[in-house]
């Protein structure tokens, strides 16, 4: 067991800022509900990044405040948002044609588990008492040109969320391109997982052991 008590993990803001480094100027990006939405707070002003909201908005601005609030203009989490100059509104089939037709460059989703092959499980744990709800997760996971995952590396009980095979119900097969966690950044490639960076104080072999999955170091 690796002692993580003296390791300073990345907080949510730091994971978001790490993801932003990999979003290029001009990208059309969809941010999933929850943690991924916080990425919008860290988009750099020197890059024009267009946010897509699955409910029919491209060019989404920050959350609406005060007089800006219009309950008919909301994000995927149903929060009132603003629209940037140049924003467009469209119906749901067009919105998902953007997603399913491969027009969205990057989608960032949260996840319960990611397999070494890039399978993603993020929509239900299989708890029979929970109400199943899938939303746009399955469409986004497969449709976006690149799928980034933002998640904690380990579960609360310390198990790796990167696994050989997902045990939770699948969202999509072989869909994930890159995993950003509080401990590391890991690419999913046809040749397996490739560790790009990891937090100070953690060795590469620690990372492999914690992840319970074989991976290689990115050759720089």
């Amino acid at each position: 067991m690796i002692d993580l008590t003296n390791i300073r993990k990345r907080n949510t803001a730091e994971i978001a800022q790490r993801i932003v480094q990999d979003i290029p100027d001009g990208a059309h990006v969809n941010l999933g509900i929850g943690q991924p939405m916080t990425i919008s707070n860290y988009l750099p002003p020197d890059r024009e990044i267009l946010l897509h909201s699955e409910n029919g908005l491209l060019g989404m601005g920050p959350l609406a405040q005060g007089d800006q609030i219009d309950l008919e203009i909301v994000n995927a989490g149903k929060q009132p948002v603003t629209m940037l100059p140049g924003a467009s509104i469209f119906h749901h089939a067009d919105s998902f044609a953007m997603i399913r037709g491969g027009h969205i460059d990057i989608c960032v989703l949260g996840a319960f588990q990611i397999s070494v092959k890039g399978d993603i499980a993020n929509w239900r744990t299989g708890d029979p008492k929970a109400i199943p709800a899938v939303g746009g997760a399955m469409d986004l996971a497969l449709g976006a040109k690149k799928l980034f995952v933002m998640m904690e590396h380990l579960t609360k009980s310390g198990e790796s969320k990167i696994v050989q095979e997902c045990t939770y119900p699948l969202t999509a097969l072989a869909a994930v391109d890159c995993i950003y966690t509080d401990l590391a950044t890991i690419e999913v490639t046809p040749n397996g997982l490739v560790a790009i960076d990891w937090v100070d104080g953690l060795s590469f072999s620690d990372l492999c052991e914690l992840s319970g999955a074989p991976m290689t170091e990115k050759k720089s």
Binding site: G56, E72, I73, F90, H91, G135, D139, G143, L170
Partner: protein
């Protein structure tokens, strides 16, 4: 003469019978036709199959119909909502049927229904429990799942403005499912905030052409 603007909401909903299948626009509260849904509750039709993104939230609209025991089945992508209590309770008791559909597949099934297409193959859901027992096919190296079109008896939608030919424009992201739902029902009924004379809506900007709309109801009071 064509006059789709109805004298009142009671008249607009008069022929909805028990067992009807009804498309309902909205994404959470945005675009939800609350005025029509409240009138439908009063109208009394039951044993309904409702198709909408959510299964009701905050105790309004669909949530009231569900709580009132009017709904036999929900076809939706995201039933879990803040205060979707009525649905959760009935679902756990096995008193309401749920067909869970990925959101893009839901939109495309409705679009297909309105365009006279019987179904389509999509990669969404392949290899997951939502593709169970569905026909799958590999096309040019990609695995697809067959999804059937959705058609309904009625669509209840919310728009911003409408004219007597049934032309509609929307407001903000309240548009969401409404334009595609309008195409996929035998009878589409739209609630609007404002009725306008013919010619006042810019032909270049009309989102739903009147051919898809049978009845328009002006919202009375605040909705």
């Amino acid at each position: 003469m064509i006059q789709k603007i109805m004298p009142n909401v009671t008249e607009a909903l008069r022929d909805i019978v028990d067992g009807s299948t009804i498309l309902i626009s909205g994404f959470g509260g945005a675009g939800l036709p609350v005025f029509l849904l409240d009138a439908l509750l009063e109208q009394g039709a039951k044993n309904l199959t409702l198709i909408s993104n959510n299964a009701g939230n905050q105790g309004v609209g669909i949530a009231k119909l569900v709580a009132g025991g009017r709904v036999k089945k929900m076809i939706c992508s995201f039933p879990r909502q803040p205060e979707s209590g009525a649905f959760d309770e009935l679902y756990r008791q096995g008193k309401i049927e749920l067909e869970l559909v990925p959101q893009g597949t839901l939109a495309e099934r409705i679009r297909a229904g309105g365009a006279g297409i019987g179904g389509f193959f999509t990669p969404t859901g392949f290899g997951t429990e939502l593709a169970k027992d569905k026909e799958c096919r590999e096309i040019d190296g990609i695995n697809y799942v067959f999804e059937k079109a959705i058609k309904a008896d009625y669509a209840l939608i919310k728009a911003d403005k409408g004219d007597r030919w049934g032309n509609l424009v929307y407001h903000g992201t309240g548009r969401n499912f409404a334009p595609i739902m309008a195409t996929a029902a035998r009878c589409t009924i739209a609630q609007v905030n404002q009725t306008v004379d013919l010619g006042q809506l810019d032909p270049e900007a009309i989102v739903t052409p009147g051919i898809f709309v049978k009845r328009i109801v002006l919202v009375e009071g605040k909705s």
